[in-house]
Each structure stands twice: as C-alpha cells, then as structure tokens.
C-alpha cells in the first residue's frame, strides 16, 4: 500500500505545482455571469429579462460563462462550480484570461453591485438599453449587417449566427459547425461602412459522433413533421447541438409548431436536453386579419 501512496502523493504535489496559475498572467475582469446559451444569443442589455434567461437556462443545464463588460467578450471558465452561484449577477473574476480562445482559468470570483460600475466606464454600456437601439444611420448599418450574414454560403440548419449592435460596435454571437463561418462573418461585417469595433463571440461546435447523430436525427424528425420550414439550402428552424444538448432557434408560425418541434427533438436518441427557444411569429396573413 505504501508503495503506491508515495508516487500518488508525489503526482498530486507535482500536478498542483505545475498547474497553479501563473501570477504574471493574472488579471481581474468585471463581467456578467451568464449561461452559455444567453451569452451566445446576447439578448441585449442586462435587463430583468436577460437575467431571467441566464438563470432559467442555467437551471436547465446550460454551463455558466462570463461576459466581460468592457467589450462583451464571452469567456468559458475552467471551474464552472466556482461561478454557478453567481449566474445572473455582476462579478469580478480573477484569473488567466485567454482572449483568443475565449477562455479564462479562474482563481476567484466575487459578486459586485451594479452601482459600482460608473456611468462613464465602458462596462456601463451593457446595462443601458439605449445603446442597443439602432436608429437613423445605425438602422441602415444594422440592415447591411443582417443582409451580409443572411447571405453567407456555408450556413446550414446546424449554424446560428446572430448579432447585436451596441452603438457602432457589432457583437457577433451564435454557434457554427464550420470554422470558416466564424472568420467569414467577421470579415464580412468588418467591411461594412459604419461598423466600428467587432467582438466575435461565435463558438465553433464540436463535431463528435454523438452530436452528429443527434443533428441528423433532429433534422430528420423536424423535416418529417414540419417540412414547410425547410427548403433546399436552409431552414427557418435552427438546430444547435452541443455535447448532447439541443437548442432550437428561429421562427415558427404557431405555438403548436413550436411544441411539435420540442417533442420531436426530445425523442431524438442520445439527446440529453432540449432548449426550445423558437419564437412564434404569426404569418403575414394572420397579421392582416
């Protein structure tokens, strides 16, 4: 027994030493603790509605993440347990952030009050709904961004790329199965007149065989029951699959269609959970009626 204990203790001590955070790379960031779904969808300012989204999706199993207030960049955290109690709250997180990968190695997290972020600070933008309204020239820029992203060639049913405008800045969000979509979206938006800064929060999804089976299964089930939302090269319903979880996005005409989509996806083998975020948008005929 003793023979095994010595190497195990040495291994544990070595691991602790090697993986301890590097003090020279430690930074403290102010952020909003969000769920990975709401952070990628970027519902806009930190409003009660957004907080509700963060907390409810987290309760359903969405992983917690940090949205940095200065530029809205989403950080995946290495220790989700450390952050889980703060979802829906403003936090000050200390750790090793890696902007390029959108990850942070957390050391500590503490809650901060909303008034602690002064109105002039860049982080305050995220809390002010007025910054999210696109009017005048910004409305034109918004439409140009929408047009460019809608026409992207490699967007399938399994990609959802969204965006938010905060003043002249564009925050790209969503999920894609293709790396090229992340960079293409960035390059397309970069060339649009009136766009200042771009934050790219588009996540490239893993291509594990389970997730691929879920994607194929979900698409087949939805196409069988809701074929009118699918056309040759795309669909009105987006099926995002990440580590066994399905996120349904897009628009359907009736609540019944939304429910059917939910039921169908829940029956897909290997799917752990379905987040039904489909929006019900009545057809033009109904609006006129």
């Amino acid at each position: 027994m003793k023979k095994f204990m010595v190497p195990v203790v040495l291994l544990a001590a070595g691991a602790a030493l090697c993986f301890a955070a590097d003090p020279s790379k430690m930074k403290t960031i102010q952020g909003y603790a969000d769920s990975d779904i709401c952070a990628r969808l970027m519902l806009g300012p930190i409003s009660p509605e957004r907080i509700e989204c963060s907390q409810s999706t987290h309760k359903q199993g969405a992983a917690p993440q940090i949205v940095r207030l200065t530029d809205n960049l989403v950080f995946e955290v290495n220790k989700t347990k450390m952050l889980k109690d703060y979802v829906g709250k403003f936090v000050e997180a200390t750790g090793e952030p890696k902007e390029k990968d959108g990850r942070i190695k957390l050391e500590s997290v503490k809650e901060i009050d909303r008034p602690n972020i002064p109105p002039g600070a860049p982080g305050h933008e995220l809390m002010d709904a007025r910054n999210f309204r696109a009017t005048g020239d910004r409305a034109k820029t918004f439409e140009k961004v929408r047009h460019e992203l809608a026409m992207m060639p490699y967007i399938s049913e399994f990609d959802f790329i969204s965006f938010t405008m905060v003043g002249d800045d564009v925050i790209l969000t969503g999920w894609t199965v293709r790396i090229t979509n992340r960079s293409t979206a960035y390059n397309l938006v970069k060339n649009i007149e009136g766009v200042n800064r771009i934050t790219n929060n588009i996540e490239v999804l893993p291509m594990g065989s389970f997730d691929m089976q879920i994607r194929a299964g979900a698409r087949a089930a939805l196409q069988r029951m809701l074929s009118r939302y699918f056309w040759g090269s795309g669909s009105d319903i987006k099926i995002i699959v990440k580590n066994g979880k399905i996120i349904l996005l897009g628009r359907v005409a009736t609540k019944a269609d939304s429910d059917i989509a939910n039921i169908q996806c829940n029956a897909v083998p290997n799917a752990f959970h379905v987040f039904n975020l489909l929006k019900v948008a009545p057809s033009e005929d109904k609006k006129k009626g």
Binding site: C18, M151, F163, M207, M212, S235
Partner: protein
C-alpha cells in the same frame, strides 16, 4: 528588475514543468499498458496496385461519367455533376472524410520505372492539398457517419520524365528517383459520396492543364525547391475543388430570397 527576472524565470519553469508533467504521464501510461499483439502491414499495402489509363481517356475511377456537364464557373476544362435531389444536396452535409488519393499512370509510360514511393509521394501531397483546401468549410473527420461526405479523388495520367540529376546537397535526406514523374497531361477526377450509403452527391473531372512543366523527382518532393511547379499544380487543383464546393453553396434565386426573409438576429 529583479522581480521581473524572477517572474520570467518562474513562468518559464512553470511551462517546462507542465510539458515535463505531460511527458511523464504519457510515459507512465505507456508503461502500464499491456503489450498489443504486433500490428503488421497487410501484404501488398505498401505496394499500391498499379492503375493504368489511356492518354486522354477517363480512368473509370468515377461511378458514372454520363451525367457530367461543363461547368462555366470553373472554366471549360471542368465537367461537374450535382445530385438534383434537394434531399441529397451538398448543403445537407457538414463534415468530410478525405480518402487516400489514387494515381493512374498513363499507358504511354513504362510503369516499371515509376516506383511505388514516387506515386505515393504524389498521392500524399495531393491528399494534403485537398485537406487544406476543404477543411475549413467541411471539417475533416476520420469515420463515416450521418452528415459526413466522403471525398474520393484521383490523379489521372501521370507520365514518365527524364533522368533525375543526383543532388550534391548533404542536407537533403530525400531519396531522388531515377526518372521524374511528369504531370503535363494529368487531370483530376473526384467524387463526393454519402459516407454511409455511398450514394453520389457530386462529382467533377478537371482537365485544366495546371501541371504543364511540373515534375516530381524525389520520394519527398515537397522538400526540393525545383519541384515547386508540381506543388503549385496540386494546390491549384485542390483550390478548384474548393471553388466547386463554394459555387454550389452560393445562395441564388428562391433560396437567397428565403434566407434573407428568414434570417433575423435573436431578439429582433
């Protein structure tokens, strides 16, 4: 100054320590594993079967040549086919398997003078070029499955060139071949099939003479500068495969209208 030096030293030490830790873990895992029964290469695996093609003719690599039509987007030298069934279109796939490239030697060449290793080098480089060209649009995966395409490709009509001059560069470890491989009349045939059913989704025959003047004279030709023409030709052929995929993914007509109408960012 001193503290900065200590920090830098500590940071370096930590990095080395991490690498060392992983090496140690891997070594430990290796020690604890039971020895596997010896995996031997199958007979004939190293020596790929020699495939021949008559100059200017189709190789028979594709399942069917009758449905190929000239593709204006790629120029008159390319013939392409896309499955007309919308349920079997390229849009329905998100990943790809790239099969090892097959090489067809022109019947005009004395095949005994083209070593397996030479054909292997050519095939390997083209496979590498294909992976590079398609991988960001179609992530490359190892195994077949749903939503996965299989890319089969062949270089058709490689020929035999002149004697390869010996290299006097001691740093050059690649073994030169006796006779060069000529790519002058090479064409590319490729097919995208469903990785599960084998059904054809798209195909192309590219007869663009990109290999004019290109020669391969070493088993590891990519290291030798004078064969840059060949590398360029392979990269361009692979690039045209990607061009074909891009053009098929472009949104036009009703699809474009529907996509524009449907797309709304979340929250709008």
């Amino acid at each position: 100054m001193l503290t900065r030096g200590i920090d830098a030293f500590g940071s370096g030490l930590r990095r080395n320590c991490r690498i060392g830790f992983f090496v140690w873990l891997v070594a430990l895992a290796g020690c604890t594993q039971e020895p596997k029964p010896g995996v031997e290469s199958k007979p004939g695996e190293s020596k790929s079967a020699l495939r021949r093609v008559e100059p200017g003719k189709e190789s028979g690599f594709l399942q069917d040549y009758s449905k190929l039509k000239p593709n204006e987007k790629l120029g008159g030298d390319a013939l392409t086919y896309v499955n007309p069934d919308k349920m079997k279109s390229l849009h329905r796939y998100v990943a790809i398997i790239v099969d090892p490239v097959q090489v067809y030697v022109s019947t005009a060449a004395d095949a005994s003078l083209i070593p397996d290793s030479g054909r292997g080098a050519v095939a390997k480089y083209f496979e590498h070029a294909l992976v590079g060209a398609v991988s960001d649009a179609f992530p490359v995966v190892d195994s077949p499955g749903p939503l996965v395409l299989r890319l089969r490709a062949a270089l058709v009509g490689i020929d035999l060139g002149g004697k390869v001059a010996p290299l006097n560069d001691p740093a050059m470890t690649a073994k030169p071949m006796d006779r060069a491989i000529v790519l002058e009349k090479v064409s590319v045939e490729m097919e995208l099939v469903d990785s599960e059913t084998g059904e054809r989704i798209a195909a192309a025959v590219d007869k663009a003479t990109l290999g004019a003047g290109a020669e391969v004279g070493s088993e590891n030709f990519s290291r030798i500068e004078r064969y840059n023409e060949a590398k360029m030709a392979f990269d361009q052929w692979a690039g045209r495969v990607r061009e074909f995929l891009d053009s098929e993914h472009e949104l036009t007509g009703e699809d474009a209208e529907r996509a524009l109408q449907s797309y709304q960012p979340y929250g709008k």
